[in-house]
Amino acid sequence: MSTRIPLPYTPRVLELFRNPKNVGPMEDADIVESAGSPACGDMIRLYIKVTTRDGEELVERATFESYGCAANIAAASILTELVVGKSMREAWSISWKNVADELGGLPPIKYHCSILAVGALKRAIRSYYKKVGKQPDWLPEELTQEERQTLEEEKMLEKLYSGYTIKVSLPRGGGNEVTRP
């Protein structure tokens, strides 16, 4: 309804949208992190259960919830599959591009859905180490590209929303003659 763009999804996106893996909250999650707009609600939320094997933290289980588009749901689904069994370090190195590639590609306008998913993951990993009080050497102190983009996205969404609130609602005029305008 506003300005449109075609969204040619790949069959893989469609398939994962229809049958997403790892959906829903996780009761015993070690970390829960989200990305998206505080204005309209989180687009994506990740639940992660961490386990330690041979001194290394591994992602044991991951689930998600999404209040986003079909691409977002598919991206989150893929991401949860990708991280399971990986070390936290490996999980950290997953990029939005990896996710998009796994989906067989995304339309450019939908890159941000993958970015949001990966942004949530990076947040989750940071907050895990914050919680356990560690600072692994592979975890940069500065925000990564994806994290910064996620923040920008969130800011943009919020601005969009609030920018409009001033434009609305004057009292409704009466006497509308509907059948013969």
Binding site: T10, C40, M43, C69, H112, L160, S169, L170, G173, P181
Partner: protein, 408 residues
């Protein structure tokens, strides 16, 4: 991005029934309309209405009969001209930019409602950028109505053009165009009043004798089961617009190029069909719409109705509903897999990731626009179509709500 759409469609599957509600875009074109067009394609060459040979005269006849029919159904005898363009978008550009070009020495204000179609708003902004007009957006109330008293305050002696649509394309609000055009002329008789009736034509009776203060009216063929590719601008005698595009003129003085005769012939038939049983056609779309909305509100919780709550103030084909806690694009995909075709005003369907400006203008919050779905019913929808939709839709909403980060 290169994607095999064929493969996508294979993955999409084959639903037991298909129901098309995206009549905001292109709807069903009935056989009678198609049959008007085919002979032109099948002939050895169909005419250019301005060439002195038989196919040319036949082509000329199509244009002339179409204008005659429009004159009749709109009660416009002797009132002005109808210009043919290729879309409602082009008709709106001709009205707004064409007005600006014809009056560019003078400048002044262009007043539009906040919920106009973008093919009115953007040309108005272009007139501001190029020719020094000033665009003023009149706010609407929470159901999309422009209050004549409010409009009055936005109009003054410097107002050059006012453009307010007859029916809103997303939320179906039917404006009181008679009153609105009257208050404009009361304040400034020289202001030109345009109404975009692309979404009103065929649904709301339009009487141009009665609408005496309306100077220009936009129509579009595909909105009434005609072929896509014909737009019309009615221009009242004495109102000046200049062509926006330039080139070789044919019959049409305001849009260069040769008229698309086969499509116009199809459009003429579509007008004929729409008006042959106007009231019955309207009753059918209204019935389908009412059945649909009633069913949805019964079966699905947390649904907002966008636009007029009094359904007699809303276009008979329009239902715009927000399904809270789900995102609209995902819902269009989910419904499509089940054979139900709709569009959404969600930010996620937009090129600029912005929700529908119409929904925002009526005060919908971002999260309310997020799950908005537009259904447009038509006289071709059957009871079975609606029942099927009412089966499929609650499940689709449920599934996505199950995934959502937001719960009630």
């Amino acid at each position: 991005m290169r994607v095999s759409v064929e493969e996508l469609l294979r993955a999409h599957g084959r639903p037991p029934r298909e129901v098309y509600f995206d009549n905001e875009n292109s709807g069903y074109v009935p056989r009678e309309v198609v049959e008007e067009m085919i002979p032109y394609f099948n002939s050895i060459g169909y005419g250019h209405p301005s060439i002195t040979h038989k196919p040319g005269w036949e082509a000329y006849e199509v244009l002339y009969k179409t204008k005659d029919l429009l004159t009749k159904v709109l009660n416009a005898e002797g009132l002005g001209e109808f210009a043919f363009v290729h879309s409602g978008t082009e008709a709106n550009n001709l009205a707004v930019l064409g007005h600006a070009l014809a009056n560019k020495g003078r400048g002044g204000k262009i007043v539009v409602s906040a919920i106009e179609h973008l093919s009115v708003i953007y040309p108005a902004e272009e007139a501001e950028r190029l020719f020094g007009f000033r665009v003023v957006r009149v706010p609407v109330d929470s159901e999309g109505f422009v209050d004549p008293e409010v409009l009055k305050e936005f109009v003054d002696g410097s107002t050059s053009l006012v453009s307010i649509q007859m029916v809103n394309h997303e939320i179906g609000t039917v404006q009181n165009i008679f009153e609105l055009s009257k208050v404009v002329k009361e304040v400034n008789p020289r202001a030109v009043f345009h109404t975009d009736a692309a979404d009103a034509f065929g649904k709301i009776p339009i009487d141009l004798k009665k609408l005496e203060h309306v100077d220009m009216v936009t129509l579009s063929s595909h909105k009434i089961h005609g072929p896509r590719g014909v737009g019309v601008l009615f221009i009242r005698e004495g109102v000046r617009v200049e062509p926006v595009l330039k080139g070789q003129l044919s019959y049409e003085k305001l849009w260069p190029g040769v008229e698309n005769v086969p499509l116009i012939a199809g459009f003429r038939k579509a007008v004929e069909l729409a008006y042959r049983d106007f009231d019955l056609n309207v009753a059918k779309m209204r019935e389908a719409r009412d059945l649909l909305v009633r069913g949805i509100l019964e079966k699905v919780s947390d649904v907002l109705v966008n636009g007029p709550s009094d359904f007699s103030m809303r276009s008979p084909d329009n239902a715009n509903l927000s399904f809270l806690y789900v995102e609209g694009e995902a819902l269009t995909v989910e419904l499509s897999i089940n054979g139900v075709y709709v569009s959404s005003g969600s930010a996620c369907t937009s090129r600029i990731l912005e929700p529908s400006h119409v929904l925002l203008a009526i005060g919908r919050k971002h999260e309310e626009a997020h799950g908005s779905i537009l259904f447009k019913t038509s006289r071709y929808h059957t009871r079975e179509d609606i029942e099927y939709t009412l089966e499929v839709l609650p499940k689709a909403v449920d599934r996505l709500r199950g995934i959502s980060t937001i719960k009630k």
